[in-house]
Amino acid sequence: MNTSSTDALSIDGVRKAYGKVQALDGVSFNIRRGEFFGLLGPNGAGKSTLISIIAGLVRADEGRIGVLGHDTVRDWRSARRLIGVVPQELVFDPFFKVVDMLRIQAGYYGCGRESWPWIDEMLVKLDLESKRNASMRTLSGGMKRRVLIAQALVHRPPVVILDEPTAGVDVELRRTLWSFMSELHAKGTTVVLTTHYLEEAQDLCERIAIIDKGKVRVIETTAQLLNRHPFRFLRIKLANEGALPESLRPLVSGEKNGSIELRLDREKHPIGGVFTALRAAGLDLEDVHTREPDLEDIFIELTHDNSRPAVAGGAR
């Protein structure tokens, strides 16, 4: 395995099939120590399977995964002690109170009473203090999600994996969670995030891998990913009735509330050219708005364009 001493996670040629469905097809990439890393992909891309293999819930058919140099199969105890995973599903044990659940979880990782002050700190940081002695079964969905996050962090793992942690949660929890995770990241924790909220990944992640159909399609820094898009978007609203000139029609990427969005190649389609074509067609503009591409545009382009080759052997 090509593992650098700075790698928090090294994923090497991982394959997994469920019957005839190839969930992961030779996934390889490394996540550096201390990174805030985004793992994106459409539903069924293989993200959760990969996380499950890292966590030991699923066994890979081929390939290896190392957590800070510890193989997840051969040295599984050490590897598991080094990671904390927030599962996607809202699972809980109905028999216990919040604080008991966290202390039990700490015990599974070999942590005794010395972990209790950290548990108390997390209860405060995640706004769970008022629910400290509440039974897990009485908590709302958002509160249960907070407990899941605390459970993943209870043994102070240097690598934290968050599988869709903000799915279906309110804005307040998102803010609380990202503030807390940013604080941990600043102290050196490696954070791996999967999310469908692409703006979250864009704001938080230093590097991003996009997985589709079990393969890594791209892995780059967030800035590189955003810059690789050769387009910009121009939204126009026409002041008078009239058909868009023939030359501009292939550029239309969407229409909404009477506005037309054009996707313009930075090199081939200067904005001035659009205005000239509109004037020549006798069309006046009521409103104009430009937009730079965001991660969602790149995500859609990469995951919808199947002709584009996946990153061969992953990226290091």
Binding site: A55, G56, V91, D93
Partner: protein
Amino acid sequence: MNQEKKPTLLPPETDLARFSDRVGFVTLTVKEIKRFWSVLGQTVTAPVITALLYLLVFAQAMQGRAQVYPGVSYTEFLVPGLVMMTVIQNAFANSSSSLTQSKIMGNLVFLLMAPLGAWEWFAAYVVAALVRAALVAVAMLLVALLFVPLPVHAPLALLAMFLLSGASLAVLGLIAGIVASKFDHLAAFTNFIITPLSFLSGVFYSVHALPPFWYVASHFNPFFYMIDGFRYGFFGQADVPIGLSLLWAAGFLALLSAICLWMLMTGYKLRR
């Protein structure tokens, strides 16, 4: 789509077979004890009351019948069998229901992701089930002693039979919990294996009173040896020698433990 794969043993370098996390084991044991303790009425009080009702009804119905063993009344004869039957059923119920519930609720992932090995899982579930079985047995014996005097002929045999039998059924419960993917599967285990075997094990009668076929068939029922050996501990009399009962109970435990540990080490039905 989720095709079942034949489980394979992990490479020998792994330490799955090694018991090495004391804190994890203690935590899981205490958690499993707290789990049944939080519903004590359901897990301890209810089975004790059910067993005492059996005692009341059968003791009344069979009053005046011939003694099963010389110097031992039918009510006296009945108590150890009922205690062991309750031990068997509760040790099985504790580990099987806990594991199945965790699987169905999804919270088993907390255990599966933790650095706990097969031995820690195994030992924690067995110890917790034995604690519940001991509580049920002691409660039953204390109440029964109000009505029937019970001698203790061989306390060590009594303890050995309790530990071997309770542990066997705790392990069988673990196996059932691993195999079951819904409560229906668990109910089938209980209704078609545990209940028939425990009722046909000589709780309410001596196997010597049975017709020849059932007499022979009883000797292939491991629960028969568990109850017979336990009864020997009280009266010093039994249908088969105590050594044979101990051997059967120990062999049954060893066989079930081997199967269960293989399942835990390979992740059978636990890890995909």
